[in-house]
Symmetry: C2
Subunit: 246 residues, 2 copies
DNA sequence: AACATCCTAATGTCAGGACAAACTCTTGAC
DNA sequence: GTCAAGAGTTTGTCCTGACATTAGGATGTT
């Protein structure tokens, strides 16, 4: 049952070999060369076809299994999963998500200040008393229609932020350029009713449904970098994700 | 900087060695033996201390990094992450989540039928025309208070389901006992306003906010097993999750 | 024809080694 | 005193090899 998925591996590339394999198989699945449900060759043959060792091949397949694209069964083989699934929720900003989907988001900075953090923010970011933070609220629109109302607090000892930057690009892009390597974020998603402040800004009726998200992001040194409270129009936004059993 | 985390590895156990290490370190972190921010010994020493090879040790640490408990940096070492983060959203049912938190959920079956699937359900579960499915709605309460209203469709060629079972335990427990090995699920979380049907059942006022979730679950053979539409009282439920950068 | 048993194929686990790349700290030069 | 070069440490990648475990088909027996 040969399944020639003619990938090419570039051994002089700085991209690790197993990651090249991941990208190759991912592309083959998304382009339809590998159909949902079809079986792959066994690991040993695949490794031999690409002149790789089995551990390297396995590491690549491990990632694809984790991502939910492949399913392995001992004694049987490896199959392309029935597809129709989305990528897992990524550690990215709304701005990135929209840009990647070809949309053109615009940002309106409603307020911006550099102030001493209130006790709740100190706790959320685990900062010592008296620390200053950036505090700002933004309104994000897509195609002229309001989508999200975002309030954020960011520690100020990483990179400086100004209002003009925030209007031009996403918060995460600014922070990444400031040297922040995000590692993880914990977030909570819920719902609420639009209040009298939110409704007109989002051009929604008072009493309509909003999706709420609270998030705190941590960088690779363990610092809490950013915390925020966002609300989205429920008729225009929802969170999609894929859960993988481990 | 020795960091004796006296784990014991049982080589005669059927549990893989790397998984024993994962459990051991996980326990050490949760019990506070390994404090947040503390550095672990390097991989080679750790492997030697436990009489393991480096690849085995690395595989264990890979899992912990993926789970967000550890952070590695080349040339520097491995640290316990600042903690305070929750476990990732698991592929589990509401019933399991509540039971694990010590709550005592009760389930009321509002409707139950075994019927031909409508076109939307056929598409969601990728079934051939004319297939029959179980269709039921349930109301879940905790401490006597309504929390969730759940409508589900389940394919009928896996295991039989009856009303009495659904009142006693969670859907996923029934399916797992029927031989289903869940692999992944894709879900969408959003918000809506309680309508006249939902509000009285959830003992909420009409017009109050609800969290909505739509989910389709896939087993290890690639079959779409179950799809459902759930709504939760926004004042009693929200989705918490940890996102890990990869 | 039905059933239990063996065999094969595939993934799962584990070992040991080698070199590359990145970060830190020290040392040295200016 | 400041900056740059280098050494050492630690993780990242990749290889070869071996055996265990499981699923499913083939085989043989009753």
């Amino acid at each position: 049952m040969a399944n020639q998925l003619s990938l090419s591996i570039d051994r002089s590339s700085p991209v690790p070999l197993y990651h090249q394999v991941v990208q190759g198989i991912e592309a083959a699945i998304h382009s339809g060369i590998l159909e949902p449900g079809s079986r792959l060759d066994n690991e040993i043959d695949l490794a031999a076809q690409l002149n790789l060792s089995r551990p390297t091949m396995r590491k690549a397949m491990d990632e694809l299994v984790r991502a939910g694209l492949l399913v392995r069964k001992r004694g049987v083989g490896t199959q392309v999963v029935s597809s129709q699934v989305r990528r897992p929720l990524e550690l990215s900003s709304l701005y990135d998500d929209l840009s990647n989907n070809g949309k053109k988001p615009t940002t309106e900075v409603l307020s911006f200040s550099h102030v001493e953090a209130d006790p709740l923010t100190l706790a959320a970011l685990q900062l010592p008393a008296g620390s200053k933070v950036y505090h700002f609220t933004r309104l994000r629109k897509v195609g002229g229609k309001p989508l999200a109302l975002m309030e954020n607090w960011v520690r100020d000892d990483i990179t400086s932020i100004d209002e003009a930057q925030l209007a031009k690009e996403g918060l995460y892009a600014i922070l990444r350029r400031g040297g922040v390597n995000f590692r993880l974020a914990s977030q909570r998603i819920g719902a609420m009713i639009a209040n009298d402040y939110q409704a007109p800004l989002l051009e929604a009726e008072a009493g309509s449904a909003l999706v709420t998200m609270e998030r705190t992001a941590v960088d690779d040194t363990g610092r809490m970098v950013e915390t925020g409270h966002h609300v989205y129009r429920a008729d225009s936004y929802s969170f999609e994700m894929t859960l993988v059993q481990r």
